[in-house]
Symmetry: C2
Subunit: 470 residues, 2 copies
């Protein structure tokens, strides 16, 4: 093969790989001479060959461009699909479902996120522009662990407004609550340790246990009452438990919030057995009722609760900012962060600190809670209209998830696959369980509003469930 | 104790913890009634008590504020210090030195970062403002793993301009190169596996091995020649090595760049033994000479090299954006990211993609390389003026580190502690080594420019070394 053919082949491959996409400008002949080390003659021949093959087009006075696609490419059509695969594990399932729920052509009932149109993005953008303009160059490296002092201070003040005394020094800023939870677990455990999780629970907890090679004890959580504290006490008596990862307010996926006395007993129980509570409290700002529930952390007297929070569910998901109030573990967590991600994006931290300073956050939160409550009611009514009466739609105020129980024997995983073929995503119960107990449940996100598309989606779900019941 | 005394005590504690700082406005009486659930009378008494104790001050028409500090607090003075501690491990040392090097009162010879004043922050801020204004709300959740399509595409094009065919699909965007390297290692290994690192090497590699409970094989790297490939071949023959984590261009801390034929042989050797190369290439844009060196990845034919890059060392550290070109491992790495940090900040990704589109990046890089080369020369000359002639200052073009060899028997860790007492930070060699071979070396960052302060710093280092030689 001649040199110019080799070069043409290489550029063809780059086009096929998507490095150069339709209508992208290719490097000029002279640039290509520098890149390839070949002569102008050779490069020129290569471009002519590509042009004759219809892969690139010359535009006079401008240069060479990748040819526009002749016909719509087969892979341009939406292909939402959970591929059946005998090696599929739970992570693959979660990955597929979550990727699918992000496609704009797919109804995002499976989504973990609220509709970002509910968020004050314009105000946050102003804060971001403001801090970017004012921040000196050094600020870009000053926010290494534990993170921006201004933001930690703002978070400590929010705790104080709930009557909780947490020093900014105990707080570490993280990439969302997920990093906070993972680092907390890593700080407290070693591989092989026992850790208690709820069943069902946030799948991130199951993934973290798997990743850190921990042994899971699964304690049942009731859709109405939350975690079974007697079962928890049994587990603590029987096993040398290091930590317990729970959601105490607007539990994901059930939606249940533990009453104060149960939170108090939970902390007391864990303290008694020397186990640490990793409290996943990412929905706490989405509470319902007269006043914001206190986290279990409020009953902590012995640095036995690591409280993980986030702005992703109530203010802005894309900034990826969370935190952990870690007490004496803060330093260990900083070390672990320094080893793994180093720190969180500095402009994002400063922008959030600036926004929290405006005191608009609480105004936003009040409106957000009202909107989410309305949307949840609408979604519930829509589902009740279309799903067979054998289906139970469990409802809690607060948060934006509904937990739906299919008739016994109907598999929600199978429903998930069938629904996705109709561009509807749902989050099947087995995503939330290490035991096989969640098979007939699914979680449904109600935060994206309820319109005609959602109504038709509910109708389709109803039809699919009826087919499966036959 | 009466109720108002309890409340006053709680607020005093919050002030002591730093939740409310001097001159911060406290919640109003009415807000405090809501927070505490106590009566207006009780709250009013509590505030009066705090005022009489001098802890808070009332400002007419405005509210209550934390009293300004009476005298400078003892802890307000800079306290750069590496605390001697018999339990100190390598991570603690690194943590202390790195924290100290960020204090503006300390000379940052130990810093891992270049001077951010060399970076085009104004232009990046414009890009950030631009994308924040234009990005729809959905964009905030569209950049989950593998990250922004626009940014992955821009990175793939930069590879193509070096003649490397890498599809955007193979690229995962991460929180700096550090997350890319950690996830790569996690994707390829299981606890107990053997991994090859260089000696000396980037301390992040040692930390990652420790965190993932891997067994390290340390292969010597020569300050002039780089890694000893014969020793590497021996190690590969003797142990079932899973991966090898190396820097092939502007190695940290030595500064050495492997010649192309050595990179080719390295890849061939690893392929022959079924080991994967994790190529840490964060300094590649800071090359010296006529043209940008190819990474070892350029010789990869079997998806055996995971190439990790970053914008932190050459464009903007605080954005925390890196990537890995991971070939067939890209999907596994996405899964691991989804489990640990979920994703990188979305506005930061979009801002970088926007900036790279302006084609100003290469103009910036050319200027940056020139400035860094000048500063490195100045630093070298300054050190030669002041350090005893028994000290060797190893020099390579490219990057911004010098590797300094103290006379045998002089401990760089001890020098580090003594220098910090004079507000000078250096990075002692033992930070870069699992063997105890680095004790008489230190790394010196030359990217912050060389002025009178640096000249005095070099003078002090010279004096301290002479004292230790006596």
């Amino acid at each position: 093969m001649k040199k110019y053919q080799q070069l043409a082949g290489q550029i063809s491959e780059q086009i096929a790989l998507g490095v150069w996409q339709p209508n992208d400008r290719l490097p000029s002949l002279r640039e290509q001479v520098t890149i390839s080390g070949m002569s102008l003659m050779t490069v020129s021949h290569a471009y002519q060959l590509l042009e004759s093959q219809g892969r690139i087009v010359a535009r006079p006075q401008s240069g060479y461009y990748v040819a526009p696609p002749v016909a719509p490419r087969a892979d341009a059509a939406p292909r939402p699909q959970v591929t059946p695969d005998e090696n599929v594990d739970i992570n693959t399932t979660i990955f597929e479902v979550m990727q699918a729920s992000r496609e704009s052509t797919v109804l995002p009932f499976a989504s973990a996120f609220p509709d970002p149109r509910l968020f004050p993005l314009a105000q946050l953008t102003r804060s971001l522009a403001q801090v970017s303009k004012n921040a000196g160059p050094l600020s870009t490296i000053e926010n290494l662990p534990p993170g921006s002092a201004a933001l930690r201070h703002a978070i400590a003040r929010r705790y104080a407004l709930q009557g909780m005394n947490i020093s900014p020094e105990e707080i570490v800023i993280t990439a969302g609550a997920l990093e906070a939870l993972n680092l907390s677990l890593e700080a407290i455990t070693a591989p092989g340790d026992w850790v208690i999780v709820e069943n069902p629970c946030f799948y991130g907890a199951l993934q973290a246990l798997e990743r850190l090679r921990l042994k899971a004890l699964s304690v049942p959580s009731d859709v109405n009452e939350g975690i079974d504290l007697d079962a928890l006490a049994d587990a603590l008596r029987t096993y040398p438990v290091k930590a317990c990862w729970l959601m105490t307010t607007c539990q994901n996926p059930l939606g249940v919030t533990l009453p104060p006395e149960k939170k108090a007993r939970l902390v007391a129980l864990l303290c008694e057995h020397g186990a640490v509570l990793i409290e996943d409290d990412v929905y706490s700002e989405l509470w319902a009722g007269r006043e914001k529930p206190l986290p279990a952390k409020a009953w902590d007297r012995d640095d036995a609760v690591l409280h993980c929070g986030s702005f992703s569910k109530c203010l802005v998901p894309g900034f990826r900012i969370g935190w952990v109030a870690a007490g004496k573990y803060a330093r260990r967590i900083q070390h672990l962060q320094l080893m793994s991600t180093l720190s969180t994006s500095s402009p994002m931290q400063l922008a959030l600190a600036d926004y929290l300073e405006t005191r608009r956050y609480d105004v936003h939160l009040r409106r957000l809670r009202r909107q989410l409550a309305e949307r949840k009611q609408l979604a519930r009514q829509g589902l009740l209209r279309h799903l067979p009466q054998e289906v139970t739609v469990h409802f809690h105020e607060g948060g934006y998830f509904l937990w739906v129980a299919l008739p016994p024997g109907i598999d929600a995983g199978e429903l998930c696959v069938r629904a996705l073929a109709h561009s509807i995503s749902i989050a099947p119960g087995k995503m939330f369980s290490i035991a096989n107990s969640g098979a007939s449940f699914f979680r449904l996100n109600t935060a994206w509003g309820w319109g005609e598309r959602e109504e038709r989606g509910a109708e389709t779900l109803g039809q699919l469930i009826r087919q499966m019941m036959k």
